[in-house]
């Protein structure tokens, strides 16, 4: 029955045009960035590296597929939560609005089965979306720009990673980003359990993301205690994999916070869904 339920949920997601709108938009953005960088990327790189070139001589293919992948991930991972919430926030509430949840819950399937199959389908969509971005950014980047060392400027200075040292970091960073996006999908499914319309959970999810981000960025003493516990503080933890040396303790802490959010929100969502009166 689990397999049937998951299969049904995947059919529903793939049959809806809206599921591919985000994918199409992301594909378009990545292709646009890559074409633009191919045409005028060097002047952009010179602008970025100008301050350090007074002390350093940079040689070789700086504008390469690895740098392009990093740039694209950095740009897109801020916006993907909206796309994820757009699909996962609709999984339960959208069916309530359509009236199909009413029929679905009269079938001989436990509510937990329905909840988890929706959750898994949402998680699969999130993972595939991220994988698609990675494939497009990395594959397209290497095809257009070739390979090379990765030079990253961050608040601590410059990090130079050799070409052969990047792929495993990228893979680990994607797993880390997956965890962050799964937190978003879990949050939107949680809100979805309370609503009978599609918009509410999407707006609520983005509202929480914006609120937590604001709380995390404000330099108010009381927030310094809260900040490490907010999932938004750990949304960009994937970047830590590109530090040298890799701060494993920080990554582990971020992962634990994100996993705790996922467990608590998924549990609360299931609790609510099991008790939900279907009035729509």
């Amino acid at each position: 029955m689990w397999r049937n339920s998951l299969y049904n949920e995947l059919i529903k997601i793939t049959a809806r045009p809206r599921s591919f709108l985000g994918v199409a938009a992301i594909t378009l953005i990545i292709v646009l960035i890559q074409v633009a960088m191919k045409m005028d990327g060097l002047s952009y790189i010179q602008f970025i590296t100008a301050p350090i070139e007074q002390n350093l001589i940079i040689e070789g293919n700086i504008l390469n597929g690895n740098l392009m992948t990093f740039i694209i991930l950095q740009m897109l991972l801020i916006h993907i939560p909206l796309l994820v919430a757009f699909i996962t926030g609709d999984l339960i509430s959208g069916e309530a609005a359509m009236g199909t949840l009413r029929i679905l819950l009269t079938k001989p399937v436990s509510r937990a089965n329905i909840y988890w199959s929706k959750y898994l389908a949402g998680a699969l969509y999130t993972i595939l979306l991220l994988l698609w971005i990675a494939i497009l950014a990395w594959g397209g980047g290497h095809l257009l720009f070739g390979t090379g060392d990765l030079i990253i400027l961050n608040s601590d200075g410059i990090v130079i990673l050799q070409a052969h040292d990047i792929f495993w970091r990228l893979s680990a960073a994607l797993l880390q980003a997956t965890l962050a996006l799964l937190t978003i999908s879990t949050l939107s499914i949680f809100f979805s359990c309370f609503a009978d319309n599609s918009i509410g959970p999407i707006v609520s999810t983005m509202g929480v993301v914006i609120l937590f981000t604001l709380v995390g960025s404000l330099d108010v003493p009381i927030f310094t205690y809260i900040r490490p516990l907010l999932f938004t503080t750990h949304m960009a933890a994937w970047r830590l994999w590109f530090n040298d040396p890799v701060p494993y303790a920080d990554i582990a802490f971020s992962s634990v916070i994100l996993v705790l959010h996922i467990i608590i929100l998924a549990g609360l969502g299931l609790w609510k869904f099991n008790r939900k009166d279907i009035l729509s």
Binding site: N8, I11, K12, L105, K107, P108
Partner: protein
Amino acid sequence: MKPLLSARNLVKDYGSFRAVHDVSFDVYPGDVLGFLGPNGAGKSTTLRMLLSLIRPTEGQIHIFEKDLLTHRTSILSKIGCIIEKPDFYKYLSARKNLQLFARWSAQDIPNSKIDELLEFVGLGDRGKDKVAGFSHGMRQRLGIAQALLNDPELILLDEPTTGLDPQGIIEVRELILRLKNERNKTIVLSSHLLSEIELIANRMVIINKGKALVQGEVAVLLNASELFVSFHVDDVQKAMDCIHQSKYATSISMHQPNEFQMQINREDIPAIIKLCTDNQIAIYSVEGRRKLEDYFLKLTST
């Protein structure tokens, strides 16, 4: 005979509002139970409780001699239903929708069964079309096909003819009658139309403001209730004088300028008509209404 479904002292509260108040009833194998009441009477809430879509605040529901709360999935595997509107995944075809629900039915339902059901509800040639393009009547028929997927022993239909045009109402009623007559299904049907219940059901429960007011055999309830017959005539006074001199003198209940009303049996109507025509009183119309109908109309108008 043991009831197939037994609801005892069902109560549902929404905050301080009591939507269903101590409702109890039984459904026996082969029954078509009409659940009759005006809009907002608590019919849908009660049916939703029978399907575990809503948790009762109080009361017990036993279906197939099992408690609904503890045996939900095994009970639902033998139930088919349409609750209010027949909603489907509009972006999928009728057949795909049925395949989807079939996979949730805890049974191995072959595609041939789905095609057979589409045929049964008259949608055999529309299986590949997306539901988005279906009329309300077609969706209602698809809803019935969906309800029959698991060959249920008990079918719950909540206002299955609401929103349909006259042709659609006839088609859906015929389908329900076929389920009763050809497939011998036990059916619980809610409606706000007494005439519909009278046509389809053999037993009924009248519910209003969350309370079950009357229940029993439809035939017994309707036949037992006295008949009010209105006679529209050209000369009410003359007609009244004639009747006062007959054995029906005490039957007259009221009169208006062109109409008088009598509480009589069906069999007495021809005698009254003869009495009038023998006295050269022109009768324009004779209209019979049962006491239960009046009672129900009174319920629905308040």
